[in-house]
Symmetry: none
Subunit: 229 residues, 4 copies
DNA sequence: TATGAATGAGAATTCATTCAT
DNA sequence: GATGAATGAATTCTCATTCAT
């Protein structure tokens, strides 16, 4: 658990240990949220257990309710956190401004790598979809959270179109869904796929090879002047 | 349940006999299985409730245990049923034997339509992945169930390659994953996507438009001689 | 606890011990209901504890939910039982058919004695009124439960009026409320009254003396030709 | 709270001083007490919630404990307030000193109207009786609070007896209980009575009609020389 | 005087499962 | 083959209250 390592009881001489604030509400809340993210990612919403969350957060079940009100409230906070993290990452993406083709590949890579690096994100999204997005719809912070997602891709597309390297009849949202799907499914369903195909879907080399081909697929499609099927 | 139908004693000639006990048992079992499929699809494994299953099956919780032993056993049966249904559908697919390009599109369409027509399949797979495929691995019927999935696509690819219309460096399993992902993700995550993108991801016209483009993407890639990105 | 006395483990020779039926659902249910009546009478609805009920019923909390579904359901059952008991008692009252004045006094005595003999009835009614009769209104068995209450008094009044011994302008329902109030309040509020008046309101002699006067009050009023105040 | 008002330090001459702290404290305390009275009247003691009280008082749960020490202490304060209010109202009653019969009716009317105007009083008394008057007995202010209640009626009775219009064998405490019961029960049990009798027991016209008859009943009884039943 | 953080104990209710016939 | 009764162990959530500043 990152951040948890430095929390020693007696203030040691180690200077980078942050001075534990009074009765550190923020830290307690954050630990609970983090623990909940792990728990829900591992077990889903219905399978997520309050006592395990409390234990992992080195807090009590009571505190979970103190800060988040209910299991639903807690899950909503986890979900919002997941979207907020993605948004923050998106804001930090660097896309080559001079080469739309390269930028598109960078975009794909960013999205796919994000999925690979954040298995909890996938799991929480799947769980939320099982619940027909009811937590998300109750959130109120939706607009704030969703961020640039498609915007980034739209710009990129427009840029490529202006430069004449991308076809003009591509719907940005649909393209986004396609790109996401190419990366998401393989990881989301890696356990059943691995069982069925007899090959570990998350294994780095295989994943890299897949991403290369997937990027080719996307790129070819977006540039794809000639293909009429 | 496939294969279960033939388990009746050779039907006697007496027509006015009341529906045989054996039949009732099979029917009860089938109703429970069906109800469980719906329940697990709607609520996941942990969220699935025995009493609701019993009620929907017009049976009792006791019978659920009588026939399936445990909740895990029941879920496994549901999962096996889901794979068996897909396998049966796959066996029935008709692909144009003379036109690999067309056959590839038919293949994509089949897969995607299957997902659209069987939302429970998606949900149960997601649930099983949350559980790291533990039911599937315990199944024992895996080989029997998985069926031709990739085989079909491999053949198709080989055919197209032999005819010189498909590139030769395509990994069938990876292509399968890509195709599946293109169709799966949009439906699997339709609730969060709909909330975020403000557009119903499962709406028929939008879906059709998306499939057209996705098929183009796949087709272009597989044929895609020239594109080196 | 009536009925509980004979429940010996090994069937003794005592013939009046009812043979404990198989896994006696009816008896278990009845024990829980009885225990709940005591608990709610002592502590009200909110103050009533499931574990105490289970313990007193020599059963488990789980069984409470098995038979009554919820705390509200249990309270409703208790309430219905309370009304049903009153109704049964009312049905059994013997009023002098030849002397309305005497019958009226018998009626009062019956009502008041019922209150004195069933402190739990008073307590449960008070609790239900605190809850604005929400359980009663949800009951569905209301008509069946309420029974002859006012009917009995109406008849009695009509009889006395026909014989010329009762005044004609008496509203039966209002008279019922007055009679009930005269007996109910003293017992319902006996603890605060006892504290304030420094005298035990439920003490038999005092109660008897009070009833005599209260009956005089009612009787004088109903016969009370002359008094115009 | 009576007597609490004079606790400010002798007001300084500085007029532009912000509202004094002491005053704020009193006001907060008063708001909490008021909110608690409403809460306990609505939900009883066990059902009364500290957070709702705090919210209604625009204060915090912490303050409730700050001022009243415990839930029991708070309820005791509410109860004492209820009795104090009744006592104050009793002190202000105007009874016709020249006409005992009229005075008796005025007394009844006062008591009954007080109940009708203070439903919270009834509810809190019922709650306290459920708790066998334990808060009242712990109060210590009992004598101070109970006030003239029966005294007033005793005097009235004595006066009427001296004038020869009231019978001499009436016990004042019992008469008080009878009068109170006549008015109390109808309102205390109005929800169940309304459900059972199908008529709103608190509806003004019906209530007035009832009171007229009840007063007749009391008056006839107290004057009631002749009636020997 | 005031308050945000924290909490142990316990509340109602549910879950998957087994017993006994 | 079928079923009603029963249940131990959670599980979510609440309650009244205290701590630390």
């Amino acid at each position: 658990m990152p951040g948890a390592s430095g929390r020693t009881r007696t203030a040691s001489a180690v200077p980078e240990a942050p001075p534990r604030r009074r009765r550190d509400a923020e830290a307690t809340r954050a630990r609970i949220l983090k623990a909940a993210a792990v728990e829900f990612a591992q077990h889903g919403f219905a399978g997520g257990r309050g006592d395990r969350i409390a234990q992992r957060a080195r807090s009590s079940e009571r505190m979970v309710y103190y800060y988040f009100g209910s299991k639903d409230g807690l899950f909503r906070a986890v979900l919002e956190g997941a979207y907020a993290s993605l948004r923050d990452a998106e804001r930090a993406v660097q896309l080559d401004p001079d080469d739309p083709v390269r930028a598109l590949e960078q975009f794909c890579r960013f999205v796919w790598r994000y999925y690979a690096d954040h298995p909890g994100f996938i799991s929480v999204l799947n769980t939320e979809n099982l619940h027909r997005a009811r937590h998300l719809r109750k959130s109120g912070r939706l607009d704030e959270l969703v961020g640039p997602v498609v915007g980034l891709l739209s710009q990129l597309l427009a840029d490529g179109q202006a430069r004449g390297v991308f076809r003009r009849d591509v719907d940005p949202a649909d393209l986004y869904v396609a790109i996401a799907g190419l990366g998401y499914f393989r990881l989301s369903n890696r356990h059943t796929l691995s069982a069925v195909l007899g090959r570990d879907m998350a294994e780095p080399e295989g994943l890299e090879r897949y991403w290369v081909e997937a990027a080719r697929m996307v790129s070819g499609y977006v540039r794809g002047d000639r293909d009429r099927l």
